[in-house]
Every structure is written in C-alpha cells, then in structure tokens.
C-alpha cells in the first residue's frame, strides 16, 4: 500500500533544475565550442611561440638573447617603460582625484578625451609626433625659420642638435601616448565608487591634504593602481606600431624589443625572432599572473570591508 509514498520520496538532489540550466549535452557542446575557439586563437599560438623559440636548441636561444643588438633593444624598451609608466601613473592619480572627488562642468568631455589614445591607431599615434617634431613638422619649421620667435631658443636647439624623431625621445613620447589612459581608466571608476566621505572625514578630523591622500586614499586605491600600472607596463614594453613610425629602426640605437623581433623576422631568422618574442610572451604571462593575483587581493580586501 505504499507505492505512492515511495514515488513522492524522490531525493531532492537528484532532480535536475531544468528551469534554469541547460541539458548536459548542451553544456558539454558549449564548453567544447568555447575551448575549441580559444585553442585555435589563443592556446595553440601561445604554445607555439615557446616551441619555435627553442627550435634550434638552447645554445642558439641564448646566443640570440645575448646578442649586443638584442641587449640594446632590451635596454631601450626598459628605458621607455621606466619613463612612460611613472608619468602616466602620476597623471592617472591626478585625473582620477579631480574627476572622482570634485564636481565640475565638462567632466564627461574630459573623460572622453582621456580615452582618446585608445581609439587612435598606433600608426596615427606615431604620425602625430612626426608631424610635430619631424624635419617637415613644427620643430623642423621652427629650426629652419628665418625669423623665429625666441631666436635664442632656436639657436640653442640647433646648437644642441636636439633630435626627437628617429631617436630615443620620440620612442619615449610614442610610448607615453599609447599607454596614456591605462592608470586613469582603472582609477576613475574605482575612486568614483568609493566616494569622498572618507577623505572628508579625514580632513574634518584635521588631516592635511597630503596626509589624507597617503593615509586614506592611497590604501583604498592601491590594488586598482597596481592593476593599472601592470597593464600600462605591458603595453609600454610591447608597443609596436607607434614606435615603429618614430624610431627609424637603427639597429643597436633606436630598436626596441618588438622592433628587433620584426628585424629578425624580416631577415628570415625566424627562430631568432621567436626566441626574442618568447621574452615578451613570458612578460605577457607574468602580466596575466600578476593581474589575476591583484584581482584576487582586491576581491579579498572588499570582502573584509563587507563583513567587519
């Protein structure tokens, strides 16, 4: 007399929640499609960089990496990043402070203008500096003008033979341009979400402006700042298009690491190109690792705030 009771007694866990999930075969199909797509475009190419880098053995790899041209390219890349990242970092903090903590007219226009370098082709980014500092550009016209404004300045520039395009300053400027929005982009939404109550409280309690920034704002934004710096640095070290316009590609002098890769590739030294490329691929993996770690830290610190 109990079959009715047994049929009703289905363990709750065995019942699939059909209403809000898909059948198992659809799930497997979608996971399969996603992984196939990612393999085709991301995983296989990434793996192949390292395989091809060591195609001629470890000796050839070390030889390529320690070549004087490669070392000079690595030095220049580090120099450009070492100048561009701190400058854009200071700018990012200033821009985020002014946009997130104050109300003023034209804020949206300012936000759009800060994003501008993201929507400009790297080639055009290089081009604009050629137009400003090139021989046919503003600087060239100024140097060759018959009656320049501030003749002492024109003389000084000509005496010092200051070169920007096809020289290191141009490379640094192009790098600054393409990495311009990274830190600001990261900090603005973060600081807007945090509001200004904590800083105002610190001020009312007698903290100076600097104290407020160092003791209240900076601890709040440190993970976001680090995140922005990591992305900014990755782009600064990897920039190709903009730098290739302004560099002139003089080997050993104005070649950055990505340009050195192109030079090796154009010489049909594919293994060499991939050997140097593997350094940048490694940098990309380190960047992704750090980024994931920062995201984890950020989430952890937010959880602590939510549950006091």
């Amino acid at each position: 007399m109990t079959p009715v009771a047994t049929t009703l007694h289905v363990p709750a866990r065995a019942v699939p929640r059909r209403s809000t999930t898909e059948p198992a075969w659809v799930r497997r199909l979608l996971i399969g499609v996603a992984l196939a797509f990612l393999s085709l475009f991301l995983f296989v190419p990434l793996f192949s960089v390292f395989v091809q880098a060591f195609a001629k053995g470890i000796g050839f790899y070390c030889h390529t990496i320690s070549d004087p041209m490669a070392l000079s390219a690595i030095r220049l890349t580090f120099l450009a990043a070492a100048i561009a990242v701190p400058l854009n970092c200071v700018f990012g903090v200033c821009a985020a402070w002014t946009i997130a903590k104050f109300d003023f007219r034209g804020k949206n226009i300012l936000l759009t203008l800060i994003d501008l370098p993201f929507s400009i082709s790297p080639v055009i980014a290089g081009l604009i500096y050629v137009l400003v500092f090139g021989a046919q550009g503003w600087l060239g016209l100024y140097r060759n003008a018959d009656h320049p404004w501030f003749p002492w300045l024109a003389n000084w520039i000509n005496d010092q033979d200051i070169k920007v395009i096809f020289a290191v300053p141009g490379i640094v400027l192009a790098t600054i341009f393409v990495t311009f929005p990274f830190v600001a982009r990261e900090l603005i939404p973060l600081m807007q979400a945090q509001g200004r109550n904590e800083e105002e409280a610190a001020r009312v309690l007698g903290a100076s402006g600097w104290q407020t920034f160092w003791r209240v704002t900076l601890p709040n934004i440190k993970w976001g700042l680090l995140y922005g710096v990591i992305l900014c640095n990755a782009r600064a070290m990897g920039e190709f298009g903009a730098v290739s316009v302004v560099s002139g590609k003089i080997r050993g002098q104005t070649n950055t690491v990505p340009l050195h890769i192109e030079a090796l590739y154009d010489d049909y030294n594919f293994t060499g190109a991939f050997a140097v490329a593997s350094l940048l691929a490694l940098l990309a993996l380190v960047t992704l690792g750090l980024k994931t770690w920062v995201e984890y830290q950020q989430a952890a610190s937010q959880n602590v705030e939510v549950k006091p």
């Binding site: 996603a34 759009t112 311009f180 990505p258 940048l280």
Partner: protein, 284 residues
C-alpha cells in the same frame, strides 16, 4: 569673500587639490594628446579640398578601407558570437582548468602585437600547426584577407568576453525562475529574458572590438602579406606614404580613420550611458 561664494553655491569644498590636479590633468592631456593631434589637421589643411579628396579616394586607399572595415566588422561579429559563448561558459558552468582559461582570455591585451603577428602567421601558414589542416580543405590563411580576419579576431576577443561576463554574473536568477514558472522553455528564456538584458553589453563589447580592430597594425602586417589592393589594411597604406615622405597624403588618410574612430568612440559612450541608465531605472 571666497567663503561667501562657496556657501552661496551650496557646496563647501573640504578636499584640497582641485585646481592643482585639474590643472595638471589638462596640461598633460594637452601636451601629450591634444596639441600633437591638432598637427594632423594642420598638415591636412596644406592640401586643397580636391587634393584631399583625390588622396583619400585613390583605389589603393579605397581597397584598404573595404578590407579594414569588412574584416574588422566580421571579426567583431565572430567575437560577439564566440566571445559570448566563452563568457557564458565561464560564468555558468564548471569545468577543469576554468580559472586558467579565465586568466588567459586577456592574453591578447597582454601579448605584444608584434609577437601575436609573427605567431599567428607561423601557426596559420600553409605548413604551420593549424594551417596544415586547413590546406587540404582549400583554406589558406596566411597572405590572404582571411589572415587579416584571423589577426583581428585574436585582438578583439577579450573586449566581448570582459564586457559581457560581469553582466552575466549580475543577472538575477529569479528572472529566469519566474519565466520558467510561467511556462517558458529554456530557449524562450534565453531569447526573451537573457539576451535582451545582455544586449547592451554585447553591443558595447562589439563596438570596442570593432574600434580596436580598425586601427590594429602590429598583429596584422605579418600574416596579411600587405599586397596593395588586396591584403593591405589602411594603417599599412598610411605607413607606406610615410616611408615615401608623403606626409600630407598619409595624414589625409589618417584623418579619415580618425573621424571614423571618433564616431565609434562616441557610439560606445552612448551605449554605455544607455546601459547605465537602463540599469539604474531597473533598480529604481
């Protein structure tokens, strides 16, 4: 006097540094971005209107616009479909290696474009790891327009995934449960409930991927072969003019690209604004 004014405007600025930070922001922005950018319009104005029009409508330039826009659009479209699937799978399902996959989705952001370029070109070459399987099917990727599409798809992938993923995560499961309890099947729920809520994010991601693809240079030049009229993208045409010291001509074509990029940026901002407004009215 100053105190009187701040009280009158109803706002008392407790925090310091407004003038300093705004001043520095505008100064640095002008120095690095706005003033150099204005040089583009200065250089273009050295051409007459006829010369400008002639330069930007040369067959080589026109072919490059068609390729750049076509390949960018198709790549963004492919990413909209597959990027959505990737985001869906990452948010909704559990599988082995999910965290690693999640982290690697950002690879195109982190990998320098030149590295991506030589790598894709090697992998998709006729003798390459993937190319050797495509060759018997009659599909050639390297040195064809398909190669441009492949490189641009690689570049645009994270834009879709990273704009759709957070919206999918925040989606209220009650909406789906309500639809299901009212008798909708899974397919109907997807089309009528989930997709409309995701659409603004998908559109924003599509616009960002499209805009990024339009200007892309480093990852395309190695795989495309850069044959004039056939596989030459617009940035390569600009580069070619610069190599011949034809700065005015290169700048004229750059102006065409800049105008399109600005329009897209504007569109992306409008979508974003629309999404925010839509979400805030929903919450209220």
């Amino acid at each position: 006097m100053a105190a009187h004014q701040t009280i009158k405007s109803g706002k008392v600025r407790v925090l310091p540094g407004f003038r300093l930070t705004l001043g520095f922001t505008i100064f640095y922005l002008s120095l690095i971005v706005l003033i150099p950018l204005s040089a583009v319009f200065w250089k273009t104005s050295s051409l007459t209107w006829q010369e400008f029009w002639h330069t930007v409508t040369l067959p080589r330039a026109m072919a490059s616009y068609r390729l750049t826009f076509g390949a960018s659009f198709l790549a963004a479209l492919a990413n909209a479909v597959f990027g959505f699937i990737v985001a869906w799978v990452l948010v909704r399902y559990r599988f082995f290696g999910k965290k690693l996959v999640d982290a690697l989705v950002d690879l195109p952001f982190a990998l320098p474009t030149a590295v991506a370029g030589i790598t894709l070109s090697a992998v998709f070459a006729d003798a390459g790891w993937i190319g050797q399987w495509l060759k018997p099917l009659g599909i050639h990727v390297a040195n064809t327009q398909l190669g441009v599409f492949v490189a641009l798809t690689f570049i645009g992938l994270p834009f879709i995934v990273r704009t759709v993923q957070p919206v999918l995560e925040d989606l209220d499961p009650e909406l789906e449960e309500a639809a299901a309890s009212l008798g909708a099947n899974r397919w109907q729920i997807f089309w009528r409930v989930i997709l409309p809520l995701i659409a603004p994010a998908l559109l924003t991601g599509f616009t960002l991927a499209f805009a990024r693809a339009l200007g892309e240079y480093g990852s395309v030049i190695f795989i495309a072969g850069n044959k004039p009229l056939h596989t030459e993208i617009t940035p390569v045409v600009i580069m070619g003019e610069l190599d011949m010291f034809e700065y005015a001509k290169g700048t004229a074509i750059a102006v065409v690209m800049l105008v399109v990029s600005f329009l897209l940026l504007l569109a992306a901002n409008v979508f974003q604004w629309w999404t925010n407004r839509y979400n805030s009215t929903n919450l209220a």
